[in-house]
Symmetry: C3
Subunit: 259 residues, 3 copies
Amino acid sequence: MDNQPQLLCEQRDSVVHLTLNRPQKRNALSLSLLQDIMQELERIAGNPSARVVVLGGNGPAFCAGHDLGEMVDQPEEFYRDLFSSCTEVMLKIRQLPQPVIARVHGMATAAGCQLVAACDLAVATEAAQFATPGVKIGLFCTTPMVPLVRAIPAKIAMEMLLTGTPISADRAYEIGLINRVASEDELDPVIAQYCQKICESSRLTNQVGKRAFHRQYAMNETDAYNDAVDVMTTNMLTHDAQEGISAFLEKRPPQWTGK
Amino acid sequence: MDNQPQLLCEQRDSVVHLTLNRPQKRNALSLSLLQDIMQELERIAGNPSARVVVLGGNGPAFCAGHDLGEMVDQPEEFYRDLFSSCTEVMLKIRQLPQPVIARVHGMATAAGCQLVAACDLAVATEAAQFATPGVKIGLFCTTPMVPLVRAIPAKIAMEMLLTGTPISADRAYEIGLINRVASEDELDPVIAQYCQKICESSRLTNQVGKRAFHRQYAMNETDAYNDAVDVMTTNMLTHDAQEGISAFLEKRPPQWTGK
Amino acid sequence: MDNQPQLLCEQRDSVVHLTLNRPQKRNALSLSLLQDIMQELERIAGNPSARVVVLGGNGPAFCAGHDLGEMVDQPEEFYRDLFSSCTEVMLKIRQLPQPVIARVHGMATAAGCQLVAACDLAVATEAAQFATPGVKIGLFCTTPMVPLVRAIPAKIAMEMLLTGTPISADRAYEIGLINRVASEDELDPVIAQYCQKICESSRLTNQVGKRAFHRQYAMNETDAYNDAVDVMTTNMLTHDAQEGISAFLEKRPPQWTGK
């Protein structure tokens, strides 16, 4: 069992399944696991046959956040490295050309909750829970807070951060942290439906859109529009947009080329 | 029937009803229709007897977005013009002195969904739906995204944009895209109530507030407060604020002058 | 009764109860009351035995906003002073090292609603209501709008601001303006639970986190992460984080020093 890799990466058709595989450690994000995730994400970014990524975890938990076992009595450089590596993974998810779907089958805690917030979409089982409990160990969930407050209302984020109390999957759905709650049996079928819809679109279109989404997010509306007009004009000149609109008008399925 | 204008503009008392009138085209926003809307909005901006605008559509749909029929094989300049004109209309709605209420009785798609997001308020029937399905035609809804992500939680916007799947009026209400769901019979009475409340206030007060709302939206909180203190101080020195407070203290109805 | 102070400040254990005490005036925020609040907040900021603040009001209302009785026919300087003082109080709540919980047992109007929005957490009874009705007196709730639109979805804020119509506690919960609705009997016990959870954490951790929360709120995500990595690295080097993690690994309660 010790020879099992801590990160599994399996492509089925156009879907890459990236699975945290430290079940005994509740998939804690050690520095080494973060480096592995980063490496896989870089590989996926350059793989045009990969159209969507599903990020999940093995064992009872989705992800327990940082690996506390490696965090005591370290020099400042270690901590800075660790939090920087974690941040780079989270930003890499945003920058990846492919959409990333969090598959949350259990507890998502601290940097684990951050992973959910950083993904483009998230689907969870009714048993999943979400928490940022850093206050309980004297380490405020400051980096997890960054995508969390950009996903959910401020006061709800503040409550999670100040109290560490978990929220249920149903509440996470209500406030926009996740896209869907599914029963355990329905988790993978629901995710497969999302993957299928994403794969039906042009790779290029998804990529253009995802990039524009994150780029304009913090701009004021006028700047965001200026950027968006450029993006749409360029998008409109691609083969896939001309083909997509022609196909729609001719009531036939489009033939994407990714160009 | 061909002589029917593509945009109807009718003022009843203080309310301007602006109605998209291309029912066979599901009120698609051709470049020409966008120019007509812009012209009417400029006229309304200069009309002090117009206190509120209700933006609706004739036929089965509220608005299907751009007119795909005119979008194939055009030069870059055409596309840039089209998306710029559309953006100017959306920003003009924000900048209009009068509040604008979207009256959504059917499907609101792509730039049609953007119209809803760009209006100050929106009321929809139970049958209305909201979608940004550009991915299906190879053209990501990048400009519709701009007001959408400023109206609803990020992950829900991302799902709409990546999958193109419509959301119901009830879901749109839950997430803040619209202010109220009404039965078909109640749609106009509910909108009339909003109009009445807005018309009971001072024209000047509404105008000052709407402008300040959009201006401070993307600022950090301290800058927003600096702006807001200036606005409130100036507002307080107007006749209508002095009159409004005096009337309140004297328990009598206020007499607005719009000054 | 005239000798009763307009602001009560009582510390029980680690909790400071700050209570607006102008019941006949529905706790209206006169310039003098705002100055008293500011003074108490400054005192609390420097009091390390105060771990959390509960802000409430005596009488039927939580807070009716500005004191209209003092607002007619004043010079510009008075208004600027008044709105600046109010803004300073609201920003001081954000900057306070301690979390602040609004205890909303009745109507919260205008700057009273702003107080709720400006607090870190808020708990309300089923009878509480929230409104920004400045339009009714010719004075748009421009400064209350600032924290309101940073707490709830834009269109819902716009409706409150343009119509002045109150929303219920249940709706306020749905949209994220408050953290919990409690029956009248449960209001204080629920708040006591929040206080207890906050007091179980390290004072230093809460302080570091609250400050980081508000600082990064309006940044773009990359800048926010840069800030957050610095904060977490520094936080990790404190005694309380090392102790908290060690205690967790050793399955014993942590001993905080606030350092």
